[in-house]
Amino acid sequence: MAGNRPVKFRILELCGSGKWNYEIVEQIQKEYDDLKGDFHRDSINFDIIELASGGMLEDVEVKVDEEGIYKKGFLLHKYVLTDFGRIRAADACLMYV
């Protein structure tokens, strides 16, 4: 499926039941043809950070990336949708709500 809605909408959809940032980034890069490569990988990750700082996602778990799944030696974050995120997602008419 090629992504046809804004990236942040899709991120909110994916985080409904909690997901690791590398899982989200990987999924988005698979779905959107114009977002391949390392630069977009970091840019999608920044989108996740923005949603978290906006109070729509919550950082629920942290672990060190030992094996280099995403970036070796850095932190991996697990995010879950907040109540406010659910309301904003509903504004954007996302399906699962």
């Binding site: 804004p6 990236v7 909408f9 630069f39 977009h40 840019s43 942290v62 850095f74 504004d91």
Partner: protein, 348 residues
């Protein structure tokens, strides 16, 4: 390395970057008042001013010239942000976002109405008739408008601390506006339109902030900001300029005459500083929190006064300095309260 020290490292890195972006925004925003003030004395705008003033009077001429300058400013901002989103490879995301009218583009367009014809036009009017330092410092009152709207629209509680901040900012505003008006009443020549412009800037940016946030929090800011300025560009070039041209004002003639190396350079300088101050403002929010981002961003008032002094040698009157200081203190009091995001960033 263990989890705790990695967390600390990540947090420090984010905060450092966030402060850098916010400071970058303040410097660029302050710089914008240089081309904004200089452009008034450049051709073809001073020529246009005398032509319109001869037939319709000074007040009308001021607004008409300000409209053309604001429209050209919007065009160069679109150019700067277009290059930016292009380099970042975000045109695809821009198309996807623009199509989302209900959750996104509707808000961007509404924001552009208040940001453009109200705030930016008002700023140019204030720069043209009262001066750059006044325009910059008068707009520092925008958080008051934002806070009032947030409490009316979203039922956000105004805390005691925010209330104190608002009072201090309003006192600063009275000093800035009152001081200028009083000294001009003394000389018997009050430039009311210029002061109205200062009020328009503060109100417009306050409203824009409250509206734009609704669409921007679920969009990519780079993309959202570009769309917001495209909205403003449409308002000027599809609606305002053609209507004023039909009404008989020489809009098209002078818009074409603006294609002159020096004028064009000043306009492009305005576009770059203004466009990127918005971009870096939004980049700072997720890293240090909206409150701190806005608080540091507001240092633009200080930078504007310094830059205008350095480049034009204008020493602002003491009422602007005192009022500006009060506004900065007030906004620091208001914004420094907001530590929620900082906590969640720390992740402990």
């Amino acid at each position: 390395m263990d989890l705790q020290s990695l967390k600390r490292k990540e947090h420090q890195k984010r905060v450092k970057k966030g402060f850098m972006w916010a400071l970058f925004c303040a410097v660029l925003w302050g710089l914008w008042y240089l081309p904004g003030t200089a452009v008034w004395v450049l051709n073809p705008f001073d020529q246009m001013y005398s032509e319109v003033a001869a037939s319709s009077g000074d007040g009308v001429a001021l607004v008409i010239v300000a409209v053309l300058i604001t429209a050209l400013n919007a065009a160069t901002v679109i150019l700067a942000l277009g290059v930016w989103t292009g380099v970042l490879g975000k045109f695809g995301e821009m198309k996807r976002t623009a199509k989302e009218f209900h959750p996104c583009s509707k808000w961007f367009f509404l924001a552009s109405i208040f940001g453009g014809p109200m705030a930016i036009l008002g700023s140019f009017i204030a720069m043209g008739f009262v001066g750059g330092a006044f325009a910059a410092v008068a707009a520092l009152m925008y958080p008051v408008v934002g806070a009032i709207l947030a409490s009316k629209w979203y039922g956000e509680k105004v805390t005691k601390r925010a209330f104190i901040g608002i009072i201090v900012i309003i006192l600063g505003g009275i000093t800035i506006f009152g001081g200028g008006v009083l000294s001009e009443i003394g000389s018997g020549n009050v430039l009311w339109v210029g002061y109205l412009g200062g009020l328009m800037a503060a109100t417009g940016w306050g409203i824009e902030g409250a509206i734009a946030g609704k669409g921007l929090d679920i969009a990519e800011p780079d993309v959202g900001l570009t769309l917001r300025f495209i909205g403003e560009g449409l308002i000027w070039w599809i609606i305002a300029i053609p209507m004023l041209a039909i009404a008989g004002f020489p809009m098209i003639k002078y818009a074409i005459l603006a294609f002159e190396p020096l004028t064009l350079m000043v306009l492009i300088f305005a576009g770059i500083t203004f466009g990127f101050c918005y971009v870096s403002w939004y980049k700072s929010f997720p890293l240090i929190g909206v409150g701190r981002g806005q608080g540091i961003g507001n240092l633009y008032g200080l930078f504007a006064v310094i830059f205008i002094f350095l480049f034009f040698g204008d020493v602002p009157s003491w009422t602007i300095l005192v009022g500006g200081a009060l506004c900065l203190i007030g906004s620091t009091v208001m914004f420094s309260e907001d530590t929620g995001e900082m906590e969640s960033l720390r992740g402990d």
